[in-house]
């Protein structure tokens, strides 16, 4: 047990091992706390900070507001934003999940994803929703209504989610809410991997919150820092939640922002953002190196945790509590930080605040003062204990193999780190139509056994300009094995008007989504455990954009040469060359001579 613990702790220290193990367990417990506290409240918000290795910091913002179904149906909105509520009512959307994401979660060094990946999206924008409709056509037209309305609301290109980017997943997504009041639900899923998420998406996101970023933990959200993060994902989830007997339904809207900040990068001042080398006097040098001298230095690795405070990291101060949160109890502790107990944390505020230590002292929560700024200051500190990061149930990476712009192959490598448990999961690919996979080349191998890991396949091939490829595979990966999935694809050449202005950059391919079936979510609810690969960049062959006229002219010339030559032969008669001379009538000369003669008679005749 001890050795296992050491392997996983990111700052291995024998003394801290027990404490670290403890903190891992308590983390799970803490997650449970977050999930269940909100049930009775109308508005709830929380910020959880967790330092990660390599001076990274995970900040998870979570906002939740409830509206009873009855008042929602009467358009009586309190905490639920009216703008979004009316869109959902108009498009008959019963459950909505919207994601804006950037960057890559580095599972190798950061461990398990926040919310088990259930509140995370693929790079760009991802949207899926359950709509009520009588037929597939009606569902699709409502889906278009929804995407167009959301596009306006969030200033994103969601209106570009058309039929070619929409799929209907069969195994990968399950509704999170209680839907026994609705029938004929249709699940539609669309992705925009090319979408660049930026501040214009954050502003409408904040406006949906009751405190609108003016107070509470949302006052820390600043576009400059959020979109500068190593990884960030903003999510909006709307689902109906009912009591045990199916009554007392509420519509729950959950907004969350998860970001991984690089502490060093975030602390750079905004007016001087370029990293510059420190003066040599300020660097701790490794004097054991033989080349160490006054002007040469091998910097020593800093073992101390970097010092930081909230204002510095987020670029703005935390402006006190949002008055709509509960005044006391669990919901009042809106800022929590998950560190080893020995870490020194100083709260800076002029108002009244309350500090609570929970989960074996590994989580400290603060009840914010109302009306005055609040800051947490963590000085630089040499640590003896560290947090254990939970190992993710699977590691997944996907890449394009091959060279040239004609064809290639996709390779997905999925690794199961567990030494004991096999993992069953669903692998979902949603490919653009101009990438044509060959399913007969699909191969899946596991390095430890020779059995085929694919248990079930759902495949809907792409149709040119009408529909993208939809592939779902249910697979089983044995313990401590690596699964390699490959298939070939061909790249289509598009019409020249179908290329974007930066055609030679390539096209983005949406990330693959992995849903784990066997392992239950550690949060204990029906959100599921998800994993997403990174998006891919697919270079397509390009025509020459500068010469449509030239091509039209040249091709037409060749066709005219063929046509002219052949029909010239077909419609004319052959005569001997001498006969033409004798007749004097054939050819251009004869015609001209006749014309001239006729003209002369007319002129002279007058």
């Amino acid at each position: 047990m001890r050795s296992h613990c050491l392997d996983n702790s990111f700052q291995p220290s024998p003394r801290g091992c027990n404490a670290a193990m403890l903190s891992f367990l308590s983390l799970l417990f803490f997650n449970l706390l977050i999930t269940f506290t909100a049930a009775g409240q109308d508005y709830y918000e929380r910020l959880l900070l967790r330092p990660l290795p390599q001076s990274a910091l995970l900040a998870s913002f979570n906002f939740r507001s409830n509206e009873s179904s009855a008042s929602f149906d009467q358009q009586n909105f309190r905490y639920f934003p009216r703008s979004l509520g009316q869109i959902l009512q108009h498009a008959r959307t019963k459950e909505l999940h919207l994601r804006f994401s950037l960057g890559r979660w580095d599972a190798e060094s950061w461990g398990q994803r926040p919310w088990d990946g259930a509140r995370e999206g693929g790079t760009g924008v991802e949207l899926w929703a359950w709509l009520e409709a009588q037929s597939e056509e009606e569902a699709f037209s409502r889906w278009l209504t929804l995407t167009n309305a959301l596009s306006g609301l969030f200033c994103a290109s969601l209106n570009f989610i058309d039929a070619t980017k929409t799929i209907r997943p069969v195994m990968s997504f399950q509704p999170e809410g209680d839907h026994h009041n609705s029938s004929n639900l249709h699940l539609l899923h669309g992705t925009l991997p090319h979408e660049v998420v930026c501040t214009e998406n954050l502003t409408p996101f904040l406006k949906l919150l009751p405190c609108k970023g003016k107070a509470g933990v949302s006052s820390l959200l600043d576009g400059h820092k959020l979109f500068d993060a190593s990884w960030q994902t903003m999510s909006i989830d709307v689902r109906p939640v009912c009591g045990k007997d199916g009554a007392d339904c509420v519509l729950e809207m959950e907004q969350s922002v998860d970001m991984v900040l690089d502490i060093d990068r975030s602390r750079r001042p905004r007016d001087n953002p370029i990293p510059r080398p420190l003066p040599i006097e300020e660097i701790a040098c490794d004097t054991s190196k033989h080349y160490n001298a006054e002007d040469t230095c091998y910097p020593l690795h800093k073992s101390a945790e970097p010092g930081w405070n909230l204002t510095e990291i987020f670029g703005r101060p935390l402006k006190g509590a949002c008055p709509l949160t509960d005044g006391d109890g669990e919901g009042a502790n809106t800022v929590c930080i998950n560190t080893p107990p020995e870490r020194i944390i100083q709260a800076n505020t002029t108002g009244q605040y309350l500090e609570t230590w929970i989960a074996s002292d590994t989580v400290r929560c603060y009840k914010l003062p109302t009306g005055s700024d609040f800051d947490l200051n963590l000085p630089e500190q040499e640590m003896t204990t560290g947090l254990i990061l939970a190992t993710p149930p699977l590691f997944a990476a996907r890449s394009i193999n091959g060279h040239g712009q004609e064809r290639g192959s996709i390779q997905a490598i999925i690794r199961n780190p567990s030494a004991t448990d096999a993992v069953e999961f669903v692998y979902l690919e949603s490919l653009p139509w101009f990438m044509k996979p060959y399913l007969h080349t699909l191969r899946a191998r596991v390095d430890t056994t020779s059995t085929n890991p694919i248990q079930e396949t759902y495949y809907r091939p792409a149709v040119d300009r009408a529909r993208g490829t939809h592939l779902e595979l249910r697979m089983l990966i044995p313990a401590s094995s690596t699964l390699t999935l490959t298939y070939d694809f061909e790249k289509a050449i598009l019409r020249y008007t179908e290329y974007p202005p930066d055609a030679n950059r390539g096209f983005d391919v949406a990330p693959a989504v992995l849903k784990l079936l066997s392992s239950q979510s550690s949060l204990g609810d029906n959100k599921g455990v998800y994993l997403r690969t990174t998006s891919l960049l697919l270079p397509l062959p390009t025509p020459d954009f500068s010469m449509p006229y030239n091509v039209i002219i040249l091709t037409s010339t060749v066709m005219a040469l063929g046509f002219g030559n052949i029909f010239n032969l077909l419609v004319r008669r052959f005569v001997g060359a001498e006969e033409v001379m004798a007749l004097g009538a054939g050819g251009l000369r004869g015609v001209v001579a006749a014309r001239v003669a006729a003209m002369r008679t007319r002129l002279l005749g007058r």
Partner: protein, 422 residues
């Protein structure tokens, strides 16, 4: 050596070359299958494999953008063992297809319809190659061999076109209609060969029987049997796939060109660069252009129907939406039937060097565009223009020679003299 022995030797050698290439270079078939010059979206063997895979896994292959080939190929190829593991059966099938094609070509040569049809006796009719030589020209043409190794379904289309021609030149009406309907079913455009081949069939029938059959009744009967045969094939396909959606995915794709994968023809780059509002107009114009040759040639060269059919295959190799070198090789193998026209052709050197030039530079320029990145699409496009130009020069030049040959019979006094067209 007796003719049968020669034939056996020729076929044995051709089969040996093919099977040797298949076995000695196991990666060669897949390499050639990937070449755009040989495999087009409507004939590619890899797409056929995908279609068969989907068909055997109960997914409709026509509900997708990959498979655009005729439905009856699916049960045929699903009967063969998987070519990824046991390629021999497929290799043997394609070798046999080539041999049958050569056999049909030799029957055409033996029928003598090229130089001495019913209404016309060429003044140079003694100038001809033996059927063995013509068969060898087909079987050992490097284009034919590469086509066979790459296994596109255009090899099957070529076989049925050759069979239709052979049966028509033997006067076997029903088998000619059947072969032509299969060819049209596979590739659509061979139906345009029906008028000249019907005239050929009528001529042969008239030569063989004492009294010429009634032209109207003859035409009506054969048109009707073509409709019945094609209808039967299409109905069988619909029964097989369970719906009529294969029509859009096969013939619709050939008509409307949604897949712009490069090939040796003129259409793909033209419609890549075409302005959206004119796309439908030019699709119509291009198809009308292809069809316009049929009545023109058939009427003008009424006396030489086989020549019309052969010239049309040459036109298909240039002006259809998805041509490949398989179409070119069919035409180039049929041209030697008209050995008697060679002395009258004026641009043989130019045409043959253009074809050679295009076949060597084409793959190089494609590489520069797609793999090296040092060239752009215009490189390959320019070469397809040269290839098309070369083929259309042969078509035009042989047409000139055929007309000149007719003139020599009509007016023997002009033989060897310079002529003009007025």
């Amino acid at each position: 050596m007796p003719i049968d022995q020669q034939k056996a030797l020729l076929f044995g050698a051709a089969a040996a070359v093919r099977l040797l290439l298949f076995t000695a270079f196991p990666s060669l078939p897949n390499l050639l299958t990937g070449r755009v010059e040989i495999s087009t979206p409507v004939t590619s063997f890899k797409r056929l494999q995908e279609g068969v895979f989907l068909y055997t896994h109960n997914v409709s292959p026509y509900d997708g953008g990959v498979f655009h080939q005729a439905p009856l190929l699916l049960p045929l190829f699903s009967l063969l063992p998987n070519p990824a593991y046991y390629p021999f059966a497929t290799n043997l099938l394609y070798t046999i297809v080539d041999l049958l094609g050569a056999n049909a070509l030799m029957h055409i040569a033996e029928s003598g319809q090229s130089a001495t049809p019913r209404l016309f006796k060429s003044s140079r009719k003694e100038l001809r190659w033996s059927s063995i030589a013509i068969g060898a020209g087909f079987l050992f043409n490097p284009f034919t061999i590469t086509t066979c190794i790459a296994r596109p379904t255009s090899a099957l289309t070529n076989l049925f076109i050759l069979l239709a021609m052979a049966k028509a030149s033997q006067g076997a009406g029903s088998t000619f209609v059947l072969a032509l309907s299969v060819a049209s079913y596979l590739a659509m455009h061979p139906i345009l060969l029906f008028p000249p081949l019907l005239v050929l069939c009528y001529d042969v029938r008239a030569t063989k029987s004492k009294s010429a059959p009634n032209p109207l009744a003859f035409t009506a009967f054969h048109v009707l049997s073509l409709v019945v045969a094609l209808g039967g094939l299409l109905y069988l396909s619909a029964l097989l796939t369970g719906s009529w959606e294969f029509l859009g995915a096969t013939y619709g794709v050939r008509l409307l060109l949604p897949d712009l994968t490069p090939n040796v023809g003129l259409w793909w780059y033209f419609f890549t660069e075409m302005f959206d509002s004119f796309r439908e107009f030019f699709l119509g114009v291009f198809w009308l252009h292809v069809v316009s040759y049929v009545p023109g040639l058939t009427i003008r060269l009424r006396k030489q129907p086989l020549f019309v059919a052969v010239t049309l295959t040459g036109i298909f190799a240039v002006f259809t939406p998805y041509p490949s070198i398989a179409d070119g090789t069919l035409y180039l193998s049929l041209v030697p039937l008209f050995r008697h026209l060679f002395p009258l052709m004026r641009y043989t050197f130019l045409a043959s060097s253009t074809i050679l030039y295009a076949s060597f530079i084409g793959p190089a320029f494609y590489y520069l565009w797609i793999y090296a990145g040092s060239g752009n699409a215009n490189f390959f496009y320019a070469i397809t223009l040269v290839w098309s130009l070369g083929l259309s020069v042969i078509v035009g030049d042989s047409l000139y020679a055929a007309l000149r040959d007719e003139l020599d019979v009509e007016r023997p006094e002009l033989r060897g003299k310079e002529v003009k067209r007025i």
